[in-house]
Amino acid sequence: MIRCEALTKSFGNNQALQDCSFEINEPSLTGVIGVNGAGKTSLFKTLAGFIKPTKGEAYVLDRLPFQDIKVAQNVIMIEEGMTFHPNATLHELVDSYHRFYGNFDKKLAEKLLDYFQLDSKRPYRKLSKGMASGFRVALGLAAQAPITLLDEPNTGMDPSLRKDLYQIILKDYINNPRVMLISSHYLGEMEQILEKILLIHQGSVMKHDSLEAFQSLLVAVQGRPEIIHSLEEKIPFYEKKDYGAGMSQIIVRKSDLEALKLSAEQEKDLAVNGISSEDCFIYLTRRKGGSINDIYHS
């Protein structure tokens, strides 16, 4: 349904996407994660046919999406920057989407508008940031499009609504399983509802896998400082912490640790623990060089 082959997009000197390759062939709820500016929105816009690849290709429903009407009818993308007619009321916008998307569920749109406490007679431009996000989600879900792209759907929402929103998305997905991509730069709050993760880093796909596989990429290794120190010299590590009192911890790739083939005797001195998927995400995408300590070092 979606296939990207070495997809590259540049805006002037800025490389938004670089050799992005991945494939999604069956319904799934996939979290597209990456730090700000990683290329998530550019990827969505390419899939939705709003922008044209500079190099490589994206195929959506086996077609090239750029300005393709068949793709447009089967793909919905919502994002903060989407533009509507300036004076159109929510009611009018729902109607126009209803006319365009064949599967549009108007009842659902009305229920969602109710849930977000949106008055359908109001114009979109009068909505607060959080309310506007709610309205876009209502459109994005009600369209029931085979390919649904939700770019940072909870921007500006209250904390309680942010959490509820993911449950709404999940319920909608269970009701009609389809290809759904949700982007966020915060994995922790949505991981429960996801099947897969697509990690975009510096314009490329760093990882496309199940949540469990993603989470088990990195492990925390604890032990006495001299033992941890000897490990540090053998394999790359993402972070090191000294807890004093004879205990240190480093974050390493599980595969690197396994490649060392430690003896049972050596393993006895180490405690190896999993870390949260959010932490995995943070370590894998952390900016190189410079730590907080360097800024405030007296």
Binding site: Y166, L170, I174, Q192, I193, E195, S210, L211, E212, G274
Partner: protein, 122 residues
């Protein structure tokens, strides 16, 4: 919606929860166990994750699939679960208990006496 708070992967937590439902008799042998979508709804998790949890029970022989009808608790589910927990879960707890006893200078005799007392109180 029920919330999950452990540090294990979600599908493991789902499998553990289902096992406890069987052990406590909430779901009995030959009864239908929660479907993938029911679990997904109860816990607010992805259906694929729920299925992974269910499949762990299939692998252990705790539940079996009936074509087109769903998954059912097998006759020997309770026996399998009890044996597994005796062999693995209790052994781990006993090891921890013995380690703690050593740290606190509790002798073998004292520890056995404490266990006996606890069992009598029950």
């Amino acid at each position: 919606m029920k919330s999950l708070e452990g540090t294990d992967p979600v599908y493991i937590q789902i499998a553990d929860w289902l096992e406890n439902e069987i052990l406590s008799g909430q779901v009995k042998p030959q009864e239908k166990i929660y479907s993938q979508y029911k679990l997904s709804d109860i816990f607010g998790i992805n259906p694929a994750t729920a299925l992974k949890g269910l499949n762990r029970l299939v692998e252990k022989g705790l539940v079996y699939k009936k074509r087109g009808l769903g998954m059912f608790v097998s006759d020997d589910a309770l026996e399998i679960l009890k044996k597994e927990r005796r062999d693995y879960g209790m052994q781990t707890q006993i090891r921890n208990l013995v380690e703690e006893a050593n740290r606190l200078d509790v002798s073998k005799e004292m520890l056995i006496k404490m266990i006996e007392e606890a069992m009598e109180k029950k």
